[in-house]
Symmetry: C2
Subunit: 438 residues, 2 copies
């Protein structure tokens, strides 16, 4: 009889020991390195030496794992994270392509996590996409209440309850169907359930499509602060069906725009200039403008995340305006303002402080205010926010290190920023007093 | 003025951008490869081709990061996980050596997570060890109720509450001071707080010292199943002060012995034979016997974890008896039986099933029963456990894959096992019926 080592290997071969399956092979770099041709007025994509992402139009010679030639996928942005790399598919009508979703499902059982607003609109469609011509897969769902105020431990437990009661095992897939709150909660649930199962992001808001669904930040809020409990945990893929934006309220659309603006300000001046020219088209939901804004946002985010997955430095720059913004969200009660609304006001505050520090010209500050006003986003915090309230809440921000609050501030020409704790504290005070009545 | 990339680098250099610090350098392999000399009757340590751990007595020529020559550290077992590697220090009186603990603290703030039983015994001592000659560090603590039944989300939230209310930031360290429940909860809290902060394990029970504090499995229970919510998250170090066992109740000591027995059964026949000869010395807490049992257990665990951190196969073998055991713990209400008591009965059930399958000789099954009886551990499940109850609870075990329950069973000569779903279902039924009245 064999000894322990060989017996073990035999067992591993004869039974389904490999609970964590290897990822599916990705598209061939040859196809993925083709740039997307312009279909609307937009600048050439800035190249950078650190450019690691691959983006491509689908060629007719389809390599393995690329969408078929007749696919509606207009763009695939690859998030390059070694063995945790994954594609972001962007296009109109992608939920009508079952094979796109199905290729990323692991195991036979899927749990769709969604909310009371999105479920009536898309749950049936997603269930169809998961099961069409795929009798081996069964789908269950958990429908959470909608809103930032439910991004808490009690609501998260409903996901665990459903998964345990339905006897889900490690060979399963969680699907996040909804906006940022659903994506963050489903992702954290997937990270923690049985110490980690696979998950897929299907973002249905602009906010989630351009930002929160990409990069693996997951988590929930604590009553005293945003996103204080969570995990870095990457999805198998992100599927952005831009048709889902057709049902998005205007206020939610504008909220997402604030993150689009962010990418321009922190690292992509040509993208910001494109936004200045095309904001009305974006708000009018012109498909080509939306598609370009989503694609370029995802490319920017993928580049940053590939270089700094766990936010040791660079990635923090994606939080421009967020320290002020999170304070607004926490201070006014989660959900009073949408995340992007709070970020918009926070971005103006960051620009104001950058200008007071002498780090940017007044013209840049003005352009920040102008573009956010164009998008009908708030450019000042709500009255309820006092200087004291800002300070108390910002003190528990994740970017505090050894008691020092670090901020993302604009510095230099358009498209440049710093992440630093090295600034004059009095100037932060000046900005807070300039924006708060007391 | 510099562009975005260079500004960012400048900011990273000038401020404390690197929230996640690099780990401290480890001891030089030359010193760490020296084997521990025998101080008591024990067999030579089995070598294996896959041997990756380093274990060593402290030499007088002290390399950087090794304990000083006068240190009470008798053994350092290294858990080899690349950039997540860490040492397990084993010895009597280690809490009297502040520098040992202090070198692994990151940042200026420490949160000690402990319970109502351990706090009166060791919290003051640990606080002293953290702060002695170290005025930069401040220590706070959160004292949880004691027991497996509190290993839940509500209790976990108390750790987050304390950390948030005390304004802990990413540059902090959580310290788990207690048994397996405290280690699992503190580790999961550290994994999820601000998406991950540093932590240190100070296990004070034999169960935690030989098993649960090593290897990075963290988590909490769900009302329907053990450890269903959690993370793989490695500590900075494990500090085993064997003096803490002096205050451990006999029942708790025996509970830990069941995991010691496990290592012998699954992969280390000489260790099992040593236990057969030295069980009385272990139960009488003879220091040399305890020290050897802890060291050899940690070495076995470190070897397995280094080869399979996230349990794709081999690591599951550490769960011999645990599928039956977890069912007993869940079925009788967490805390009615100690973890090791449930594992002991579960190990006998696994041995029984292995024998029924014809995979081991009757003599091995008998030796399993004999050694656990010597340790005064239960060898049958409690009456409350019915066949139906076992089946229902085992159906949500983490080792179920695509609906198939995989088990760790003994196979071959002493010290050999398999992890497999390829067994006759009727034999599982036979074993359940043999151990349950109904």
């Amino acid at each position: 009889m064999a000894g322990s080592a060989s017996s073990l290997l035999a067992a591993a071969a004869s039974s389904s020991c490999a609970a964590i399956s290897p990822r599916l092979p990705r598209g061939a770099p040859a196809a993925a390195s083709v740039s997307s041709p312009s279909r609307h007025p937009c600048p050439p994509i800035r190249s950078s030496p650190a450019r690691r992402l691959r983006t491509g139009f689908v060629a007719s010679a389809v390599p393995t794992m690329q969408p078929p030639a007749e696919s509606k996928v207009s763009t695939v942005v690859e998030v390059d994270l070694g063995d945790r790399s994954y594609p972001i598919y962007i296009g109109a009508g992608l939920l009508d392509e079952p094979e796109l979703l199905q290729r990323h499902v692991h195991g036979k059982r899927v749990l769709v996590v969604t909310n009371t607003t999105v479920a009536p609109l898309y749950l049936e469609k997603v269930t169809w996409a998961l099961t069409h011509n795929n009798p081996n897969v069964s789908v269950e769902s958990v429908i959470l209440p909608d809103g930032e105020k439910y991004k808490d431990m009690d609501t998260l437990m409903k996901v665990f309850d459903k998964a345990v009661e339905s006897r889900f095992d490690r060979r399963c897939t969680f699907v996040a169907l909804g906006g940022g709150v659903i994506g963050d909660m489903c992702g954290f649930a997937a990270a923690a359930f049985l110490r980690g199962v696979n998950f897929i992001q299907i973002p249905t808001t602009l906010m989630a499509q351009v930002d929160s669904s990409v990069g693996g930040k997951t988590g929930i809020n604590h009553p005293l602060g945003k996103n204080l409990i969570g995990a870095f945990y990457q999805p198998q893929c992100v599927l952005v069906d831009t048709d889902t934006l057709n049902t998005l309220p205007n206020r939610e659309l504008a909220s997402g725009v604030s993150e689009v603006v962010k990418y321009g300000l922190i690292r992509d001046a040509p993208f910001f200039e494109w936004q200045e020219k095309n904001m009305q088209a974006l708000l009018a939901r012109e498909p080509s403008a939306l598609a370009y804004a989503i694609k370029r946002s995802c490319e920017n985010k993928a580049e940053v995340v590939a270089q700094d997955e766990k936010e040791s430095g660079l990635r923090a720059t994606l939080n421009l305006g967020h320290t002020f913004g999170h304070a607004i969200e926490t201070g006014t009660g989660y959900g009073a303002w949408l995340h992007g609304e709070a970020v918009a006001a926070g971005t103006v505050m960051a620009a104001d402080m950058s200008h007071r520090l002498g780090w940017i010209d007044e013209s840049i500050k003005k352009r920040v205010i102008d573009i956010l006003e164009q998008a009908k986003l708030p450019i000042t915090p709500p009255e309820a926010m006092t200087v004291e309230k800002f300070k108390n809440i910002m003190a528990v921000d994740k970017k505090v290190a050894d008691g020092l609050l670090r901020l993302i501030l604009l510095k230099g020409p358009l498209g440049s920023c710093v992440f630093t704790g090295d600034y004059d504290r009095n100037v932060l005070d000046e900005t807070l007093h300039a924006f708060c009545d007391k």
